[in-house]
Symmetry: C2
Subunit: 387 residues, 2 copies
């Protein structure tokens, strides 16, 4: 067995669900370019059968104590080489959706993204709405259409805005199909209904991270979204990377985030560094069109989780929340085509020609991570509305 | 065994999940004032064990063919009196949440409700936004906080709007806690990702109906909802009635709905009568404060389901979508306290005193149905934010 691939050594150990050969889906941990059959390893720190399931939810539901024990046990197994006989090259396994998603929440935590959208759609007003700096704005997305990397993305049909005010909408394929580069957080179980999670305890309930492509139909969204927010413009597909990177593996990259002024309310204050220094890139048709970093996010995951539960809402093992589009301050660090093309005004060079929004056949890959801890990638290719 | 209670004869046969004595939760059908143990009946039309589960999802996933066969088999069993030995008085069983909710979508389908809200919040503009008559506006709610009737409702904490524009929000208990009277629709599995459901085929995917109280925190909602819609103002709890009334039982009450002008786009056209004539009432502290009817809804369930999937989004067995607040044209037929008190301006008489919004200790019961087919009720009592 070769030396582990950079980014997938014992510093990472991401979890996924794969199909080994023609067996049933089961849990795996990635070491280098290999998927290790977790059930076959016979770890002592979880009940029998925890990993012989088609999602990681049962493992995640065991809680932070078990997450840490399994990680420590895995390091020992790998250092002794005991994993090798249960390893299959990742190229020879099929990666499946790693979790059964309970609730999916999408935030709007990048100040650059929210400001850019504000400038485009409300050019005569303040770019940020009055609530934006007081709370992490978020909404619920569709859990049932969260799909694993590689799933083809069919261009959605739907109602597009009338050509003139007071006119009738038209029906057809979405003309402004877009991506959003996001970071997703997979949750463990939270406290009972009625009890919020303290921002300083958020780590106890954060299992791991994935890359998220929140595919967006801009014309459908623009027509439908008042007054109750995005619906069909987002619900046709949300792609996530197949290997969930444990939050523990990201600990070395926790940094101070942007200064928050005004200071947030008490329930949103976090004592420790909680932003993530994670380099990210957007690749459209083999062309890197954006390089950014998750550390630009104004609101961090601990604040998002505290906010999401401050009203007493429960969080369940397998719930997913995402950051919203991650944009940086520069033109080359924006996380959506809406911003990169500035609302369709400018073109973006790719190997398949110039683009504003996505054309059928285009492939988008989001990548991220450090030399020692790779976040892997999430990819998707657009297929036509008809086919 | 006494004659079946009106509303729960063979015309209805609603399904629930109950705990008989100290056994594990399992499926039941309600006949009169009795819960019948479905697994014990030994029906031929479903695989063994379908009903010995803590949710109805496995049964629902069998699809319309099985729903019809089970219903027919049940009628035969009941007519022969074979159910009696598996019957327990409903007062002696604990009713639990009948489904594991996949995705929960809330629509905004009452023209009277949407117009009333528009008049209150945008007094100088058209009450309805430009998209409203072209599509059933909807958004995703939190599936994990859908709870069964009787669950105490803790007043949520959260951010309330600043006293003046540009000011800071305050934090504390929601001062304007409200209800929304809604009808909920429980779905069966739909087609694969990428394939919409035709409005005229919607019946194939509609398993049944429940009453829904979409508890709403108006101050939290008003501050948070721009631009991505309601979030914490709704996600603390959504109560549903425990007995799911089969859509088949409601067939006699399908009627033509309000005229739709302008005519909706083709994908929203339904040939058969698809509105539901269902009398409904809101009871606050033992006082009936509103009487209305689901037939007032501008958009019907078939149109909601067609719209929800027109972009290719999947629907899974156990998904739930609700109508949004059902208000009629008269002051006494409004489905929220926001409307009944006209934004807190007017008081509502109840046995516990005058109300605008809900006080701690208040109990709300929503009821509905006909003499032959009762929808049952959904109730909830408000507990203080602290306790």
């Amino acid at each position: 067995m070769p030396v582990p691939e950079p980014g997938y050594g014992v510093e990472n150990l991401p979890y996924g669900i794969v199909r080994f050969g023609d067996g049933s889906p089961r849990a795996a941990v990635r070491v280098g370019d290999y998927a290790i059959d977790l059930d076959a390893l016979g770890l002592q720190s979880v009940p029998d059968g925890t990993f012989a399931q088609p999602s990681l939810n049962a493992f995640i539901a065991l809680g932070r104590g078990a997450w840490t024990e399994v990680r420590e046990e895995l390091v020992r197994f790998i250092e002794e080489g005991l994993h090798a006989e249960h390893a299959t090259a990742v190229g020879h396994v099929e990666s499946l959706l790693p979790i059964e998603v309970g609730d999916y929440v999408d935030f709007y935590a990048s100040i650059e993204h929210a400001s850019n959208v504000g400038r485009m759609f409300r050019p005569d007003a303040e770019p940020l709405l009055p609530n934006w700096k007081h709370l992490p704005v978020g909404y619920h997305g569709r859990a049932g259409t969260v799909v694993v990397s590689g799933t083809p993305i069919r261009r959605p049909m739907g109602q597009r805005p009338p050509a003139e005010p007071g006119g009738a909408p038209t029906f057809g394929p979405e003309p402004r199909l877009d991506i959003e580069l996001e970071l997703g957080f997979v949750c463990g179980d939270g406290p009972a209904l009625g009890t919020p999670i303290d921002a300083n305890d958020a780590r106890e309930h954060l299992f791991g991270c994935v890359l998220v492509n929140d595919w967006s139909a801009r014309a459908i969204q623009r027509w439908e979204y008042v007054p109750l927010g995005p619906f069909l413009g987002k619900s046709f597909a949300t792609s996530i990377s197949p290997w969930i990177v444990p939050f523990d593996a990201l600990e070395p990259y926790l940094v101070d985030g942007p200064e928050q002024d005004p200071a947030p309310l008490d329930y949103l204050r976090v004592d420790a560094p909680s932003a993530l220094d994670l380099p990210l890139e957007v690749i459209l048709n083999d062309t890197v069109v954006s390089r950014t970093n998750a550390s630009h996010l104004y609101w961090n995951a601990a604040q998002m989780l505290a906010h999401m539960t401050v009203n007493g809402a429960t969080v369940r093992a397998g719930d997913l929340f995402a950051s919203g589009t991650i944009s940086g301050p520069d033109r080359g660090s924006l996380g959506s085509l809406l911003e990169l093309s500035w609302g369709g005004r400018d073109t973006i060079e790719t190997t398949r020609g110039e683009r504003t929004f996505l054309e059928d056949g285009d492939t988008v890959v989001l990548r991220g991570g450090h030399g020692l801890v790779s976040m892997g990638e999430v990819s998707g290719t657009v297929v036509s509305a008809e086919g």
